[in-house]
Symmetry: C2
Subunit: 118 residues, 2 copies
């Protein structure tokens, strides 16, 4: 992944509504969620929702499939995986440098260990 592409993905997720949509779809898994259900759950009006769904779809983070009258959206995990791989490239030597476990000394240990992410 190139930096321009990564920036596009990050910008797509860098909006509260779109991030909420994406997270909802990740939690929903393979079954996905149809547009109006997303709109209800997140209190986003149809036109605005379509705008954000189109944005997320354009950059490849989600995809939609028509199912009768509904369009069922689901997260495209591979794109997110690639983005995370890009952000963690050249750090951690393949070891997980995340998540922060809540152990108070984790950060300090990590500080002296392999270089963290991005």
């Amino acid at each position: 992944m190139e930096i321009l592409n990564a920036a596009e993905l990050l910008a797509a997720l860098g909006h509260e509504s779109r991030l909420a949509i994406f997270r909802l779809l990740v939690q929903a898994g393979a079954e996905g969620v149809n547009a109006s259900a997303i709109g209800e759950k997140l209190a986003i009006q149809p036109a605005t929702l379509s705008f954000h769904l189109a944005h997320l779809n354009r950059v490849g983070l989600i995809r939609g499939e028509r199912e009768s009258r509904f369009i069922r959206y689901s997260a495209d995990y591979t794109t997110m995986d690639e983005l995370l791989a890009f952000l963690t490239h050249n750090c951690c030597q393949g070891q997980p440098c995340l998540p922060a476990t809540g152990m108070s000394d984790t950060i300090e240990k990590r500080r002296s260990g392999p270089k963290p992410c991005a």
Copy 2:
């Protein structure tokens, strides 16, 4: 981390210049890089650079320390770690679901494993 905060961080990184700055600082490590050196390396004019540095600093991804006439900027790894932890929360059960190792079947394996990220 809350979703609004995460969206702010993602938006901050969702600009080619700022992402390039952040990556440069991550690569530079603890020593950091002073502003004019960043500007030269990335071909960004001083005023524009200051604008982006201030943005990254405001959201906590970098910090600057004056060193004589220079201001040395360095990445704040903890903020990035928290962001990545947020993005990978409730997935992977603490196992690394990244990075993509380049092994062709990794993605498929992961698909049937713990739910990927975000």
